[in-house]
Symmetry: C2
Subunit: 516 residues, 2 copies
């Protein structure tokens, strides 16, 4: 069945006698029989945060593999990548203010912080020159070190959650093709206060360093990984100083007491283990085999890993659950319609995204391009690069799909336009030539494979949940995620059934010659 | 100096040669030399939450007395009331999910919870009849008991903070005099599920009862006192079950895991002490002596106590700091102008407000009315009831004053209207005949003394800070509080300098005859 056949068979109304097409079945499965919140419930509530390298991620991976097998997918397997470095499991954390008055401190350890237990005074490094910094030598040991000044908290006179308005979408619709940004070189050396401050801190061995992150308030705390020694990373550095991020209100309170000359004492009990001795990580891969064009693939994926203080719900159980739901929708559609996909459909759940798109980049490096050592800038392309029609990604939270970023691929616009217009009830359809970044479609786009991230309603993503302690299932919207799964299943199916692969952007000259 | 003189002397512009009046000085002190945030900083950051009966409140009280003395007030003293019951100091709290996976639980103990340390499974009482309840007999010991169902979390598509719009204020301006509500009798007996459930819980001695409060999300947790045995109160009951309130996201997560049949284990370490052996509490009272009408008083007050999980910033360091600032403004104004108040000006910082306006009601019971045992419905009035011109209260958070509730006192309207129009730049002036409740002016209003609470911009008060863990200094607005202090100082001064006392509402017939 070709795309044209599908379109001709589109059901027009319930009382029509026309045959039910795969696209109708996709809509029915996606919108009326959705399982996306059930999938997300297990992924978040039960398996919790899925920090790359952690044993929580291993358990969640095992569960996802089992679910994909239950759905009937083929070739369900893990593809190893690495070495990533050490894993990190948090097994206990508490922080308290012990003096001048007791209060439990709302705080979270930064990932990869080593275990520490202790009590001590708090000191703020009030310095901006090397000389001022030197005055703290010998004074930080056995203390909690504050490195941030106070941050003013503004009340929310504007909503923290939003959906895109027409104005926002029109701006994207009208955007031109992006111009490539020049690659930035490493900044030249010279005195860097922050580097020098951290050298001092590492030498002094304080109990812990505390900060208050650049956003978050009212109990929402944004936390990611601990700072490692200069030039190393969290998951290989053996000398990480224990680090924790406090709610801004508690950080500010402590800071203000110090400013009044009142000594503040904190206590901490952080228990963590370094795990994962073989240092290797895994992407989860499964397939629905194609037929006449089975050597060509359509990949749909999302990163499965998360940060550690919430349960990685909007970032990115949302995307991972949607992709697992897309796999389920497609399997059910194939079963019910008897229509087989022409190309092979492949789901990929990546890990290591939060530390630098490592899972997807390693996958691309294994199958589609040669990377030089310690780089993800492709030197040359592998043969299979030609076999991927498209990679579809979802990683902007729980908001419904309002359109798609084409990353400057002008030739796909009329194709996507047609597909969107066949989904008239789903409040979607904005196609922008603009780029979006920060997630795994970049790994494919970088090697000339059409890679797309969808435009999603922002909801509370950047304001409240993305990398925060409150990234929990309660902030997922089942209605939005069902819509997203329906649209992505439709796109994957349509991509599979075309006579040709999706058009590609012209390759960089460097890369073209590299393939020769 | 009478009110008329004051008005005649009002400065009209900076280049005017007219004499600077006390009202000009009040504005200068209140708006340009404000100390209100400095006062609030000590009250919240340093002295922390001020739960009635706690040693934190004692320290804060000592500080406030010392500050009022430093300002030069007279007759600074504590007035004892009680017996209130036991005090409660929290010295340590932590809660963790230990299985199926570790996470630190964002939770707070309810005030007056006894100490407890333990680990156990969580059980939800899924019952609504006595028979269903009976099925849990013998099953709650050594467990954490959930008593609430799940609560759905909605994203904030509307702002959580707001100021009053013209529409809101117009509704208040146009409100008629309130009609008295009939006093509700005690509900007739019969089967009450909640009562029976709690009897069972108390008999079974679980590790703790956990709930998720009726509002709050994203790390904001609303917490007040523990439930005591039927008919007793938190601060006298010796059999309180340890109780904690969880962030809704964590509560829901645990609930959903149980619904999936997955056992969840929690651990708790709650350390608390019962303090205050003499069971007595104290209001803080200080005065600025009057002159020709010194036997009449103008009282301005706010409750000084708070709940225990934040630092009682908007509830009610805001009001208490404003009233201390009013005292400071008035002292400075008197010093600079040489004009003395005609009536005695009295500041009152109440305690026990959160448990039932106890401090103010006991004060009224001591000085102004006779209450029957165990009641705050006055039987008769004392002689001094006639000497109080007005009681002004502030207890609706950090928002600036937009007007005043007159509690149906129609005769004060033209007087307040005049005072407000003399403050043209302060975005205030709505006078409503409507009532407002829930705070200490009611204690005075109940015995026929004009008692007023101001209309304040809501800001984040009910949505985020009132009785929450996030009621911290960061949610106070210095600009708003300065405006409030300026207006209240003006009202107090004007009330002091009138030839007559403020008009009163007609007394209840009962009470009138009681005074005979």
């Amino acid at each position: 069945m070709t795309l044209h056949t599908v379109n001709a068979q589109k059901a027009t109304s319930e009382d029509s006698n026309e045959e039910t097409t795969p696209l109708d079945l996709i809509k029915e499965q996606g919108l009326e029989k959705s399982q996306v919140m059930e999938i997300a419930g297990w992924m978040t509530d039960v398996y919790g945060p899925r920090l790359t390298g952690s044993s929580m991620l291993d358990k969640a991976t095992e569960w996802a593999v089992s679910e994909l097998k239950k759905m009937g997918l083929s070739n369900v397997h893990l593809e190893e990548w690495g070495p990533f470095g050490r894993g990190w499991d948090l097994t206990h954390f508490e922080m308290h203010a012990e003096a001048p008055n007791y209060f439990p401190v709302l705080a979270y350890p930064k990932a990869w912080s080593p275990p520490v237990k202790g009590e001590g005074e708090v000191i703020y490094i009030d310095a901006s020159t090397q000389e001022e910094l030197d005055a703290y030598k010998g004074k930080l040991g056995g203390k909690f070190v504050m490195v941030d000044t106070i941050r003013d908290v503004e009340e929310w006179f504007e909503p923290s959650a939003k959906r895109y308005e027409s104005d926002d979408l029109l701006g994207m619709a009208n955007a031109g093709s992006p111009t490539p940004r020049p690659r930035r070189g490493r900044r030249a050396g010279g005195f860097n206060f922050n580097t020098e401050m951290w050298k001092l801190i590492e030498a002094e061995k304080p109990i812990a360093v505390i900060d208050r992150s650049y956003k978050g308030d009212l109990g929402t705390v944004f936390v990611s990984g601990a700072r490692a020694s200069e030039g190393r990373s969290q998951n290989v550095d053996n000398d990480i100083v224990p680090q924790a991020t406090l709610s801004v209100e508690h950080y500010n309170r402590i800071f203000r007491m110090l400013n009044k000359g009142i000594p503040v004492r904190l206590s901490i009990d952080l228990q963590s283990n370094y795990t994962n001795p073989d240092q290797m990580e895994h992407n989860i891969i499964a397939e629905i085999p194609g037929t006449d064009l089975k050597d060509e693939v359509v990949i749909f994926g999302a990163h499965f890993d998360s940060w550690h203080t919430g349960t990685g719900a909007t970032d990115n159980a949302a995307g991972s659950s949607v992709m697992m739901e897309v796999a389920r929708i497609l399997m059910e559609t194939i079963k019910e319609s008897g229509v087989q996909p022409r190309r092979t459909l492949r789901i990929a759940l990546w890990t290591g995204e939060e530390q630098g798109l490592f899972g997807s980049r390693n996958y691309v490096g294994k199958h589609y391009a040669e990377f030089p050592p310690n780089s993800y800038t492709p030197q040359s392309l592998k043969e299979d690069q030609k076999t991927v029609s498209a990679y579809y990604n979802l990683d902007n939270g729980t908001g419904k799909i309002r359109g798609i970023y084409t990353q400057g691929n002008e030739d796909v616009v009329p194709i996507f336009r047609k597909w969107f217009t066949e989904l008239p009830d789903l409040e979607t359809g904005t196609i922008t030539l603009g780029n979006t970044g920060g997630t795994d479609h970049l790994a494919f786009d970088a090697v000339g494979i059409p890679g797309f991230q969808f435009i999603q309603d922002p909801m509370s993503y950047f304001a409240k949940t993305h990398h925060s302690n409150m990234d929990n299932l309660d902030h997922l919207s089942g209605e939005d995620l069902s819509q997203a799964a329906t649209i992505i299943a439709t796109f994957v199916w349509n991509t599979s059934q075309m006579d040709t692969m999706l058009p590609r952007k012209p390759l960089d000259e460097d890369l073209k010659s590299g393939t020769n």
